[in-house]
């Protein structure tokens, strides 16, 4: 057995020099590494091979002398415009008849062999193969993040187990992104050089299948570590962000165009959400304190606010603020002017008062979410044992000092998780302000769709943008939570 190990080491010596550690396990890993690398190379090659065959056309040319020639051309845009690599001399072009037809035998579209697996033709084929093609870089991203996370956790030393990680990264990370990236390049020239055989899709298909099998077998033993890595949810944030990025890179039209169109909408959404969240915290704190107040009046006001607002849908509130509030202002202004000429100026001020869409949006979100936040603050504050307040008061602190130094610092740890969830909910519900002529993410999406009728692509892009924002903020909330725990 020992003898065999040495033998195999010499055989693979060149390919795997850095991996020659000293155990049998490593030799098994070396073989697996070779299988994986070969498989990956095969996948990439076969993937590229039949790509963009629809950009090649066959032409039948009849010259004035009666000679006939057939040729293949790479087309820039099929059926409209073509370029010939070596144009004929001008004098022979006196009577030229050219019949151009797309190459009949091709069976793959511009998405490599993936398209061959799915369907013969149609838009569905393109979309589906595109999605599959995106999966690989996503998996690669997950593995990459997991690898870095593991290094961070275990320190930067190189444990013996670094090999499988590197293998996966090398193959799936680089390979996967490469596959998606290659979509923007035109390989039809290569196909012309390779000749007609290259258009035969089965070569690419079987090659890819063999490569994928090699990959699968090679990385089978590593699956458990992969599962653990994927459970790290930060990976999801990264993966979705990468999906957006790849969409814009791989299919610039329409995704890059959509992105440039809606990008300023993201900023508007973030501005509305962060501004109103600041006000919401303030209103929630006041509302929460009101809900636990001893004074019946303050308690009554706070309870009325909370019960009233929680019973009305946010959309209705927003519509009221935007459409009905100006009328209310007018009535107040007119009433003020009617009471006394001295109030003329104030009345006019009310009549002239108009909220900007941004102000109306922030106002609406603050009022609505402040009510929910008040309940969260109330629950958080009353979850702190009343002995804490008594101890603070017995030391001579005033009610507000006790709140400031004793109750709220403890309550904030209880409040943080639900208020973080409120933030995520607010981020999503901020899409409702698109009815107020605020050019937020959703509204920009609607505007783009109205221009181009690309409903599928537009809403996918908008959804992914929201997903990145919400996933990121919920992870951030989780992180802050884990940092603010303390021993009781």
């Amino acid at each position: 057995m020992k003898q065999k190990v040495v033998e195999e080491e010499t055989v693979f010596a060149d390919a795997i020099t850095p991996l020659r550690l000293n155990s049998r396990v490593v030799v098994w890993r070396d073989r697996r590494l070779l299988a994986i690398l070969a498989g990956a190379a095969l996948v990439v090659f076969s993937f590229a091979l039949p790509m963009f065959t629809w950009r090649i056309t066959a032409a039948q040319m009849t010259y004035s002398g009666g000679t006939q020639r057939s040729a293949r051309f790479p087309l820039l845009i099929a059926g409209q415009h073509y370029a010939q690599k070596a144009p004929l001399a001008k004098k022979t072009l006196t009577d030229l008849q050219v019949t151009v037809a797309p190459v009949k035998e091709h069976r793959t579209s511009g998405y490599g062999w993936l398209a061959a697996i799915l369907a013969e033709r149609g838009a569905l084929r393109q979309h589906a193969s595109f999605v599959i093609c995106l999966l690989m870089p996503l998996i690669a991203a997950c593995l990459g993040a997991a690898f870095v996370g593991r290094l961070l956790r275990d320190g930067w030393s190189w444990p013996e187990s670094w090999i499988p990680w590197l293998i996966r990264l090398a193959v799936l990370g680089v390979g996967g992104i490469l596959l998606a990236w290659m979509h923007q390049f035109d390989f039809s020239d290569w196909l012309l050089i390779l000749g007609g055989k290259a258009l035969w899709p089965r070569v690419g298909f079987w090659g890819a299948l063999a490569g994928a099998l090699a990959l699968l077998i090679g990385s089978w033993g590593l699956r458990r570590e992969t599962q653990r890595a994927v459970s790290n949810w930060w990976v999801l944030v990264f993966a979705v962000a990468l999906a957006v990025w790849l969409l814009t890179r791989v299919r610039p039209y329409p995704y890059w165009e959509i992105w440039t169109f809606i990008a300023d909408g993201i900023l508007v959404t973030l501005r509305i959400v962060t501004t109103s969240f600041g006000f919401i915290l303030l209103v929630s704190l006041l509302g929460g304190l009101g809900r636990i107040a001893h004074s019946k009046f303050i308690y009554g006001i706070a309870s009325l606010y909370v019960e009233l607002i929680r019973g009305i849908p946010l959309l209705v509130q927003l519509l009221f603020i935007w459409f009905a509030l100006p009328q209310v202002f007018d009535v107040i202004g007119a009433a003020l002017q009617g009471i006394s000429p001295a109030l003329q100026g104030w009345g006019q001020w009310f009549i002239d008062l108009r909220l900007s869409p941004f102000t109306a949006a922030v106002l609406g979100l603050t009022i609505c979410y402040g009510a929910y936040g008040s309940e969260i603050f109330r629950a958080g504050i009353s979850s702190i044992h009343r002995g804490q307040m008594e101890a603070a008061r017995s030391l001579g602190m005033t009610y507000f000092q006790a709140m400031r130094y004793i109750i709220l610092p403890q309550a904030i740890r209880v409040i943080l998780p639900p208020i973080g969830n409120e933030f995520v909910a607010l981020l999503k519900d901020s899409s409702l302000v698109s009815v107020l002529a605020v050019s937020d993410l959703t509204r920009r999406g609607r505007e783009y769709m109205a221009r181009t009728f690309l409903s599928f692509d537009t809403w996918i892009m908008v959804a992914l943008c929201y997903l990145v924002l919400t996933l990121f903020s919920s992870r951030a909330v989780e992180f802050i939570e884990s940092k603010s725990k303390f021993e009781r």
């Binding site: 044992h385 101890a391 030391l395």
Partner: protein, 255 residues
């Protein structure tokens, strides 16, 4: 402790309670029924009685954690009624709770210094010097940087005493300070209280620790059914109680 005055009985009493009445649940439960009591400066007064007899309520009324229905309370010359007066009086009254009520989000040192800085407006350095002195006094200076959750019950209660003392109060109220402790930790807390009594602090203690009552108390009150039934010295009360209700209670707790 700021004050080392002996139990001089010629001064006006530091705590004066007149016709104190307190009810709960809209008058359905009477917790204190027309209580009047004077406690002179430097006296250690222990209150005993069955549960529900109103002893804790009375203690909490002295610093207005419970607002009485009627009656007057005068502490160190301050009549408690206005919020401002109450806070001024509370600075002179330290209170120790059964459940310690330390602030779990602050270190031991911060627990002791916070109120000094916020209420007494002392500098951080000054407050920390006082806190360390007190921690040495209660025997746990090495725990200054620890958090309450890392301490044993006895240590927590000693920190709570130090926290109350840091405000340099003239009166200390103890609300069953050893009831939530394991038996072996009771002594360390009682030792601190005993030391305090010897230093001449005015103390009102609600407790079932008869040993402490015998050794340290100048006066014992027996309460039952919202009234003070018997008011005498420890010797008299333990050896020859006057009221039959007191005899019955003592026979139950002194096996």
């Amino acid at each position: 402790m700021g004050d080392h005055q002996s139990a001089g009985h010629s001064d006006p009493p530091i705590i004066q309670i007149r016709n104190l009445r307190k009810t709960f649940h809209h008058g359905r439960i009477v917790a204190l029924d027309d209580i009047s009591l004077d406690i002179p400066k430097g006296q250690v007064c222990v209150i005993i009685g069955p549960s529900g007899s109103g002893k804790s309520t009375m203690l909490r009324c002295i610093n207005y954690l419970e607002v009485p229905d009627s009656g007057t309370i005068i502490v160190d010359g301050i009549t408690l009624s206005e919020a401002k007066d109450i806070n001024r009086a509370r600075m002179e009254i330290g209170m120790v709770f059964q459940q310690f009520n330390l602030f779990p989000h602050l270190s031991v040192l911060d627990n002791i210094t916070l109120a000094q800085r916020v209420v007494r407006k002392r500098s951080r350095q000054e407050a920390e010097d006082i806190a360390m002195d007190l921690l040495r006094k209660v025997g746990i200076p090495e725990k200054a940087r620890a958090y309450p959750g890392q301490l044993s019950g006895g240590q927590q209660q000693r920190v709570a005493i130090a926290r109350a003392l840091a405000m340099q109060p003239k009166i200390m109220l103890f609300d069953e300070p050893t009831s939530a402790l394991d038996p072996e930790m009771i002594k360390e807390v009682l030792d601190v209280m005993l030391q305090l009594a010897q230093d001449g602090m005015t103390m009102v203690v609600v407790s079932h620790e008869m040993g402490f009552a015998r050794n340290a108390a100048h006066r014992i009150l027996f309460m039952d059914d919202a009234r003070i039934i018997e008011d005498s010295t420890p010797e008299e009360l333990f050896n020859s109680p006057k009221e039959p209700r007191t005899r019955e209670f003592l026979s139950k707790i002194l096996h």
